[in-house]
């Protein structure tokens, strides 16, 4: 029984390390990805579709209004809002695994572009 408890404890109580977003990921984006054009950039419905995808996949970490919560960063910062579509798409695809941001490559490309469109439609947060 003791062996069972120890094994479960090892598996489930590993430290959760979530570093705040420091923007270092931006430097890792390859130039060709940085320059990618959002195929949904001119699609007026894309932001609405992206909002639903955000609510379903992202809101539990980054808050319903994308203002961040706990150590999960706000997505309404200047850094995120000034990132190119290609940079945000790259982040959604690859995540930032060492810092707690999962890869969302399980979502089809179209949905990641719709999410990108939604993120860029968010208002900038007020300076605190």
């Amino acid at each position: 029984m003791r062996a069972i408890i120890v094994a479960i404890a090892i598996s489930f109580s590993a430290p959760l390390v979530f570093a705040a977003s420091d923007g270092v990921w931006l430097k890792r984006v390859p130039d060709q990805d940085r320059a990618r054009i959002n195929p949904y950039a001119l699609d007026e419905n894309a932001a609405a579709a992206g909002a639903l995808l955000y609510k379903r996949n992202c809101a539990s970490c980054h808050a319903a209004d994308a203002s961040g919560q706990g150590k999960r960063p706000s997505l309404r910062t200047t850094r995120v809002q000034h990132a190119s579509d290609g940079e945000l798409f790259w982040l959604l695809t690859n995540g930032n695994l060492g810092h707690g941001m999962p890869s969302w490559s399980r979502l089809p490309e179209d949905q990641r572009w719709q999410l990108t469109r939604y993120l860029h439609s968010l208002p900038l947060e007020e300076t605190k």
Binding site: I4, A7, I8, S11, F12, A14, L16, V17, F18, N45, A48, A49, G50, L52, L53, R56, N57, S60, C61, Q69, G70, T93, N94, G95, N96, L97, G98, H99, G100, M101, P102, S103, S105, R106, L107, P108, E109, D110, Q111, Q114
Partner: protein, 285 residues
């Protein structure tokens, strides 16, 4: 035990369900990990009727936790019911999956480590290795339970995404820790959502919430007799429905491909994902 599990299920469901899109696989793993801090509770049922045996229903109750963005841990509690026989608890498994590469590639590897403490009556069929086949599912529960299996299982998971499709291949090596040679197996999976783009209205029946694919899996013999001789193999279509804000429902009929296999196995799964469970233990909400 059953009452405890039901209470736990209901309690967890009252917290905060989320429902990220998941792939419609029962035995195949892809490189997609559980979101860090989130817990997925899933019940996987496999039912079939082996030749010269009674119909059975094997259940694997699974708790999957995103330890970090690159590390997922799971606990399985398993049991089965066999017609004209009995219902028995058949053991537990603890597994960990880690992604060694932190970016997406054409082929994404994941390393899988599992410890199993199960008995011979286990019929959850989470994998097929070695010479597993129809005859392993025909004995009585009282006799089969006497066979204790403490096993280590290793998998190399390879997975790729391409134009909305996911292609996953798993190579399995399993060994009883006390005796018996290494046994080998494989699984292959391919799947795709029925629609790639998201809709502008929240609709549980939108095509983007459905995914379809196929799985094939089977044994590859053991260290002393590697190959396809006297091994069983299965193939079947697989479907799932990711209900927004609700459970994920998965189903798959599997068809045995040779005389060593059970003719048909029907698989059903219900999963519920609880977002950011860790926060409740930190008093952050």
């Amino acid at each position: 035990m059953l009452r405890y599990l039901c209470a736990m299920w209901l309690g967890l469901g009252a917290i905060l369900p989320i429902s990220a899109q998941e792939l419609p696989y029962f035995v195949t793993y892809s490189h997609h990990m559980e979101e860090p801090g989130s817990l997925e509770v899933e019940s996987k049922i496999a039912t079939g009727k082996p030749e010269d045996g009674n119909r059975f229903g094997g259940n694997a109750f699974e708790l999957e936790y995103g330890t970090t963005a690159w590390w997922t841990s799971e606990l399985y509690l398993e049991g089965q019911t066999t017609a004209h026989d009995s219902t028995v608890f058949t053991g537990y498994r603890i597994e960990n999956r880690v992604r060694p590469l932190l970016r997406e590639h054409w082929v994404n590897p994941v390393l899988y480590f599992e410890f199993e403490d199960i008995n011979g009556a286990n019929k959850s069929l989470l994998e097929v290795v070695g010479h597993d086949g129809n005859d392993d599912l025909t004995g009585s529960n009282s006799e089969a339970r006497a066979e204790k299996k403490r096993e280590a299982e290793l998998k190399l998971i390879l997975s790729s995404n391409w134009k909305g499709w996911n292609f996953s291949e798993n190579i399995i090596a399993e060994k009883d820790l006390r005796h018996a040679p290494w046994e080998f197996g494989y699984t292959l999976g391919a799947s795709r959502p029925l629609r790639l783009a998201g809709g502008v209205r929240s609709n549980a029946f939108a095509l983007q919430n459905f995914a379809a694919g196929a799985e094939m899996y089977g044994g590859l013999g053991d260290k002393d007799s590697f190959g396809l001789h006297q091994t069983s193999h299965y193939f079947g279509p697989t479907f799932n429905w990711n209900i927004p804000g609700g459970p994920r429902i998965t189903a798959s009929p599997n068809f045995g491909l040779n005389d060593h296999s059970v003719a048909r196995i029907y698989r059903f799964g219900v999963a519920y994902e609880i977002g950011q469970l860790s926060r409740y233990f930190k008093g952050g909400r």
